[in-house]
Symmetry: C2
Subunit: 163 residues, 2 copies
């Protein structure tokens, strides 16, 4: 099968220079933004009419081969299939995050928290459309069977906690 190449449309700016949380913590600061190359700025028109957007990015700071079974760090040793996980070590390391749009100024889209390293290559932005993307009957899959699932939920949602 054919290979395909991708060309970033910009970068993602975050405070995470050397390590990123499993899931981001949102703040009132404008610390997280998508910064587009000039050629693509016109494509942002009307994006601020959406509450949420998808950011797609290339997870470029990996140095290991993907394994088909993984043990997520917060899952108490449980082994699950790679495609049943959000592990960044994937055959095609495309990251996907749903973020809130705070403000768009020039070539910057300020968002809620993103769990990626600073300067991560941005591949695409898509509107998160309620009628298409919001599945209120979705479950949490195997995650909901983890023993300490309330603790886990704090990690997943990026809620600070000290236990």
């Amino acid at each position: 099968m054919q290979n395909f190449s991708l060309n970033p449309i910009g970068i993602i700016k975050t405070p995470y220079l050397d390590n990123a949380p499993y899931q981001p913590v949102d703040t009132d600061e404008q610390e997280f933004y998508l910064q587009l190359k000039p050629d693509y700025v016109a494509g942002l028109k009307d994006l601020d009419s959406f509450t949420y957007i998808y950011a797609l990015y290339f997870i470029d700071r990996l140095n290991a081969a993907p394994k088909m079974e993984v043990a997520p760090p917060w899952a108490a040793g449980q082994q699950v299939g790679l495609f049943a996980s959000r592990s960044p070590l994937r055959p095609n390391p495309i990251g996907l995050s749903v973020v809130r749009v705070k403000e768009i100024k020039g070539n910057r889209v300020y968002t809620s928290g993103l769990d990626v390293f600073d300067n991560t290559p941005l591949l695409d932005i898509k509107p998160y459309i309620n009628d298409l993307d919001s599945k209120c009957d979705a479950n949490n899959g195997w995650v909901q069977n983890v023993d300490d699932d309330e603790h886990l939920a704090l990690h997943i949602q990026g809620i600070p906690h000290d236990y």
Copy 2:
């Protein structure tokens, strides 16, 4: 900025040989499935514990350059920014669909409807995790201002209608 290359993990099988609907129609038939290459089948473990998954794919049957403003076919001539649309003509033509998991058998993940051509290259599968991805307060952005938004909602949700 660097370029990146991608290598499909499989293909998407659909009934759409020559044209695809804007949004798919779900049926009881097992007409839609993700077919993985043998090396990746072990990565499907536990995927069937999720109600919904994301399919990421390469939109490979395009023959035009992306424009930064687009007029979606069902939007009564309204021009919006490319990144505020789900147009397939994007700088990085990565398609993203939320689909229901019906059944997993061997290297096949049977799903609800997918609006892509048969044999579309599959790049990734991720679990759609309620706590992370379901935003019940999301809006429909500029889409909700389209005049005939009830008609439009039928298109977006892929509900068959004859008017």
